[in-house]
Symmetry: C2
Subunit: 411 residues, 2 copies
């Protein structure tokens, strides 16, 4: 098995100014690619310490993957240090210079004297193109070993890793990998993992890796085999077992299928439009829907009715309803959803009203109490939730629940 080591370079990481998402991203992709990661470290913009680490890493890993320190300023010293450690000279790459000039031109910026330094790369290296910044990356090969350098900013690093590094590593490891990503909603990570504990624990191929992010849980099932068919068959068999255990929670598959994307795609397929009426989520559902490029086909109208006057004026919620039952009530959620559909002429409307906290809770209506209404031509349904966690979590879970309710309704 191919072994790798990650070294993230940057004083900002050691100062705690930046969360090291690069390590996590690369680690998870290496696992999928069947590459073993035994060490990962962070070091500041300090050539001496980087050199020491490099010497250690050369002795214990086949591939060293570095991020950061490729910028234009004097403290960016990764290339210089790594080249020296591998006995390579830095040479000017005119094609990198041209690429940089055209990138900067497009971004409306000028080349500075500093940028020139970024076009110097180790002799004989494989260049990794950067379409989202000025710093090119590179791969130095030394016998069977390799040192890979990537820029620090994730929006530059991630595409470069996927487009160039991952295929390079897959080829080097000589294995064929297949994977599927199952996306779950309505269950926590630990409970989901517990439910398929025996599947996760007793398998090394395929591997089943759970991952939780903002209310959604995903499982990545990856198998390696000697042929595509063999790997695919192994993945499919494991996924079948996962569906048997967790099927009711799986709403989609795939890396990019956020709940909002699945909602937008399903609405498109059915030729339906949706409207939102948000109180405690304050625009969050609209934001999630419009994060999906092309959402305008299915989403035209959103109402942020944070005040009671807004609920009455924009959605026609009755004063009597608000006075009798309160803004956070089944009745208000119902009238909000109905009003949003009426005012927008959309096919379906969803409403959210609740107490996000930290203030505003009572014994009868605690922080976290949220009503979600949905209305279409078949009528109205209102769901009651008590969400746990802080303001951000309550809002986030409520918005996802609203999307889930739309999805279930239109499916």
């Amino acid at each position: 098995m191919l072994t790798a080591e990650i070294i993230c370079v940057g004083t900002e990481l050691l100062m705690g100014q930046v969360l090291n998402t690069n390590e996590h991203y690369i680690a998870s992709r290496l696992t999928e690619a069947g590459v073993a990661l035994n060490h990962s470290s962070v070091v500041g913009d300090n050539p001496e310490r980087l050199k020491e680490l490099l010497n250690l890493a050369k002795g214990r890993a086949d591939v060293i993957i570095m991020t950061g320190g490729l910028g234009p300023t004097d403290d960016d010293l990764t290339k210089e240090t790594v080249s020296a450690a591998f006995g390579k000279k830095l040479v000017f790459h005119p094609e990198c210079m041209e690429k940089m000039v055209s990138y900067l031109k497009e971004a409306g910026r000028n080349l500075t004297k500093n940028n020139e330094k970024q076009a110097y790369l180790p002799e004989g290296c494989i260049v990794i193109e950067n379409n989202n910044g000025t710093a090119p990356g590179c791969i130095i090969e030394d016998g069977l070993k390799a040192a890979i350098m990537l820029p620090g900013p994730p929006r530059e690093m991630v595409p470069m890793f996927n487009e160039t590094v991952l295929p390079y590593l897959k080829k080097k490891s000589g294995m064929v990998l297949k994977s599927r990503v199952l996306r779950l909603f309505g269950i926590g990570e630990s409970r989901a993992a517990l439910m398929c504990d025996s599947l996760i624990k007793n398998q090394t191929n395929p591997t089943i890796a759970p991952y939780a992010k903002e209310g959604e849980v995903t499982f990545r099932v990856t198998a390696s085999g000697e042929s595509e068919d063999e790997a695919q068959r192994m993945v499919d068999e494991a996924c079948e077992k996962m569906y048997e255990i967790l099927g009711e929670y799986i709403y989609a598959e795939g890396d990019d299928n956020s709940m909002a994307r699945v909602v937008v795609d399903t609405l498109k397929k059915k030729g339906l439009t949706v409207a939102t009426a948000e109180s405690c989520t304050g625009g969050l559902i609209g934001k999630m829907i419009t994060e999906v490029s092309g959402a305008s086909e299915v989403y035209g109208f959103g109402f942020i009715t944070y005040a009671n006057e807004a609920k009455m004026q924009l959605l026609g919620v009755k004063k009597e309803t608000l006075d009798t039952f309160g803004a956070v009530s089944e009745e208000t959620a119902r009238e909000m959803a109905e009003g949003a559909r009426r005012a927008s002429g959309s096919d379906i409307a969803v409403s959210v009203t609740g107490i996000a906290g930290p203030g505003g809770g009572t014994e009868e209506k605690p922080v976290g109490l949220v009503y979600i209404g949905v209305n279409d031509k078949l009528g109205t349904e209102v769901f009651r939730f008590v969400q746990h966690g802080d303001r951000e979590r309550v809002r986030n879970k409520s918005a996802l629940c609203a999307l889930d309710i739309i999805l279930k309704r239109i499916r």
Copy 2:
């Protein structure tokens, strides 16, 4: 200066299943506490590799801070490995056992045979109480050096770090620290850092640390001194110089003062209300404003007018305006802002219309073109921006620009 090294133990980190937020949290608190961090690494649940790392760390840091591997199962081996490296025996701590029993009882769970292992700690250690889980932490002292062990789950680790480890480190370092955080908008991190390059580079006390996140840039200025007064005076002097250079971009101070919070607080102080009319940001501005607890005092109405019909129906934008100038135009932004104030009765209204991409751009109206309108009793102003970056960045920067425009208008 006291030096520290972080070692995070856990195969799940190297598999990319868990994002290492502990490293980031500890690193940022160490910076504030004036402790230098030169190395940070991740190692799997592997005693041999942990031992090697410990031997390296002992030679280069005063304090080794470890997280993870204190659980009840067989692969949790941090205590065993560290105790051996420091020549300490593990001894039974009855008070830890009692604490664990009462913690589990409260959580409605039973003690398992495995838990007993967690009450064994190195002889002569300082015990770190855990109020959110079963695993106690501990500090081993060896001459002037110290090894600190904490559990991996952040909701257990963070309070233990703050309650016990941070005071321990502050006492050990013998320094008094003061810091101020300056918050900037309207300038990129690299340009801001370049403008005060001489201040950042030539100072080790105070330190000036830039940090960029989602369009905002902050500088944390930290000084250590022998008295509170001395440290405060040094911070204030450095901040004064920062204001001379970057004053026009500094919109607030403090750790928690997001742009949205400053807008909400300033509106409150002035007794004003705001309404939003969003096209390309699709609810993001509303979401940002309502992230601030208590926003309901200043924000009641938001309009997500993603479709032209919504702009006409909800905001009274004229069909003629849309036909003649298009949805993304100065004229539409103007009518959106005016319509939002009229329809809501708010004191001030802001509107955003633009092309977030990736599709929809033309030569005349490229992706990233955004108009932001603001209307109050004094009239209407419209600002034109061309934002660079992907869909998420264009939307995020536009929302922050809108908040900045509100702030400038009401100040």
